[in-house]
């Protein structure tokens, strides 16, 4: 086992423990929200995992955008691998955030889904990154695929700041957790559970991304071997 394997193993264990800690904080340590119905009191605890999932989706697409820019500058394949891996994780966490948000909305808004600006822009962001994978799968030549995907990845990222700001720019029923005027919408004891969960999820993202990038490295190694055989 080399040094990077050891670091990854340690980080994986820490991330798993962090997630267990986040579950304990979210379900047992964080206090009940005041003035809500019984269903809503339980549903409110969804935010400890829903918001970190949404944060990770945006972070992942941000990493895709940065890696895409670096790929266009350097043409090194490792940046394309990073962009692809991060976009895949972004899609997973987008789905998790959409589904958990929809489940929260049922008791809170009395509906599973509504075309609120945040939900609409988030759906558009999701579809733009689904198209990122469709674009990639439509191209055979690796260099051309990487170049087109990089340009498209940068373009698709434009939906992320719009999604983030949608609840501040337009009239919406979606809660605003961080408001520059009203401050943070959680009590101090809720905030500790929230930030613990945010940290644990971010570490989980780093670990999953690292594993995914290594997988991509193995796939590239395989392609090189196949090329050698074809000669």
């Amino acid at each position: 086992m080399n040094r990077s394997d050891r670091i990854l193993t340690v980080l994986t264990v820490i991330a798993a423990l962090g997630i267990l800690g986040a579950i304990v904080m979210a379900l047992w340590v964080a206090p009940d929200a005041v003035g809500l119905t019984r269903d809503n009191t339980f549903a409110q605890r969804i935010i400890y995992f829903h918001v970190p999932s949404a944060w990770l989706s945006m972070l992942a697409f941000g990493v895709t955008m940065i890696a895409s820019i670096i790929y266009l500058i350097t043409s090194k394949r490792k940046w394309d691998s990073l962009a692809l891996s991060s976009a895949e994780l972004g899609l997973i966490f987008t789905l998790a955030a959409m589904a958990s948000g929809s489940i929260w909305a049922r008791p809170a808004w009395n509906t599973w889904w509504t075309w609120d600006p945040r939900l609409t822009t988030y759906t558009i962001m999701f579809l733009l990154f689904v198209a990122y994978f469709m674009l990639r799968s439509a191209m055979e030549d690796p260099a051309r695929r990487a170049r087109f995907a990089a340009v498209y990845g940068i373009f698709a990222f434009l939906s992320v700041p719009i999604t983030f700001m949608s609840i501040r720019w337009w009239r919406t029923i979606h809660p605003v957790l961080i408001d520059p005027k009203e401050g943070f919408g959680l009590s101090p004891s809720m905030m500790s559970a929230f930030f613990f969960s945010l940290g644990a999820f971010t570490l989980l993202y780093v670990v999953l991304l690292w594993h995914r990038v290594r997988l991509e490295g193995s796939r590239e190694q395989l392609e090189v071997l196949k090329e050698q055989l074809d000669r």
């Binding site: 269903d39 969804i46 997988l215 796939r219």
Partner: protein, 47 residues
């Protein structure tokens, strides 16, 4: 309470599905890589 459990299950299902998918793809790649490496070594052997 059902909504909370449902939401947590959905998030963990998505995460574990991804972890399982990485692990499955890694196993397949390792097998394919080992087989190809053998073929490459065999081809390069007599040279």
């Amino acid at each position: 309470m059902n909504y909370m459990i449902g939401a947590y299950l959905v998030i963990w299902f998505a995460t574990f599905a991804f972890v399982f998918s990485i692990s499955h793809r890694q196993t397949n790649l390792r097998k394919e890589l080992a087989a190809l490496q053998e073929v490459v070594i065999e081809q390069q052997g007599p040279q």
